[in-house]
Amino acid sequence: MGIVSPGFHGRRSAAAPELPPGQYLTEDFPVLTAGPTPRVPTDAWEFTVVTEAGQRYAWSWADLMALPGQTVTVDLHCVTKWSKLGTTWTGVSLDTLLENVETAADYALVHSYGGYTTNLPVEDLLDGQAWIAFKYEGEDLAPAHGGPARLLVPHLYLWKSAKWVRGIQLLNEDEPGFWESAGYHDYGDPWREQRYQGD
């Protein structure tokens, strides 16, 4: 094949999907992990919310399955610069889970089986922006991708979408999580390219 003039393909920006700054498109689904992959049986799985007053709310797997689920198609943006577009997930909205939780907290620290943590403002968990997801492309979520259930917060870099999610601590003060305490940005908006502290 010879060199083809870009003119034959029209303007590249018109054909390429729009990505956040610094990102490239990937078709596969890279597995990033900071440690061993927990194998959490669903009959032992539990999701908890603990408020700033110490009040604890808990859901078993059966409780989660009994809640109304949503299927959403969203784009994923990893801070390591890959983006994957049009991924379909099924899960329970955090709006549903937090509906009857009495809290005035502004901050959340998300905990995973295996010890991982990540922090984000409570408002980023609400208004149809976040889910506890348990199916990916119609199949049970594989452990490598965070199964049996992971947090899905697609408007922030993917490290915020904690795999193997186990609970959320609601806090009056912001507390940095695993990567946020090691140089990564506290908020992590891919469209503002908030990768590292100070970005």
């Binding site: 890279p30 597995v31 990033l32 992990t33 900071a34 440690g35 061993p36 992959t37 927990p38 194998r39 959490v40 908890t48 801070v79 390591t80 905990h111 089986y113 295996g114 010890g115 452990p143 490290w159 186990r166 609970g167 990567w179 305490s181 090691a182 140089g183 990564y184 990768r195 590292y196």
Partner: protein, 97 residues
């Protein structure tokens, strides 16, 4: 929260020699020859024998005995962040003074 005791799959990790290049950029000595003591279980061993998870936003080095995090290293465009809170001490072999 109380720790989840498993089961776990070990996943994909390298040995601590994967830290040699990135740490050489920061330290004048080769830290993979040093030995560290895990802050979680107290096990002591060479940095080169840590389990390094590199398919991640940074390098995460875990204790081969208890799998807890001993060291984290994040390299940004202008800075590196080194978190050693999982190590109570690092013993670095030096020449005779």
């Amino acid at each position: 929260m109380t720790p989840f005791h498993g089961p776990y799959d070990d996943g994909d990790y390298a040995d601590g020699n994967a830290l040699a290049g990135p740490l050489r950029e920061i330290f004048a000595v080769d830290l993979t020859a040093a030995s560290g003591r895990c802050a979680h279980c107290g096990a002591e061993g060479p940095v080169a024998l840590l389990r390094v998870y590199a398919h991640a936003p940074g390098l995460v080095a875990r204790c081969p005995s208890c799998t807890e995090v001993v060291m984290r290293l994040v390299r940004g465009p202008n800075s590196a962040w080194l978190d050693l809170r999982g190590a109570t001490s690092i013993r670095i072999p030096l020449g005779v003074e």
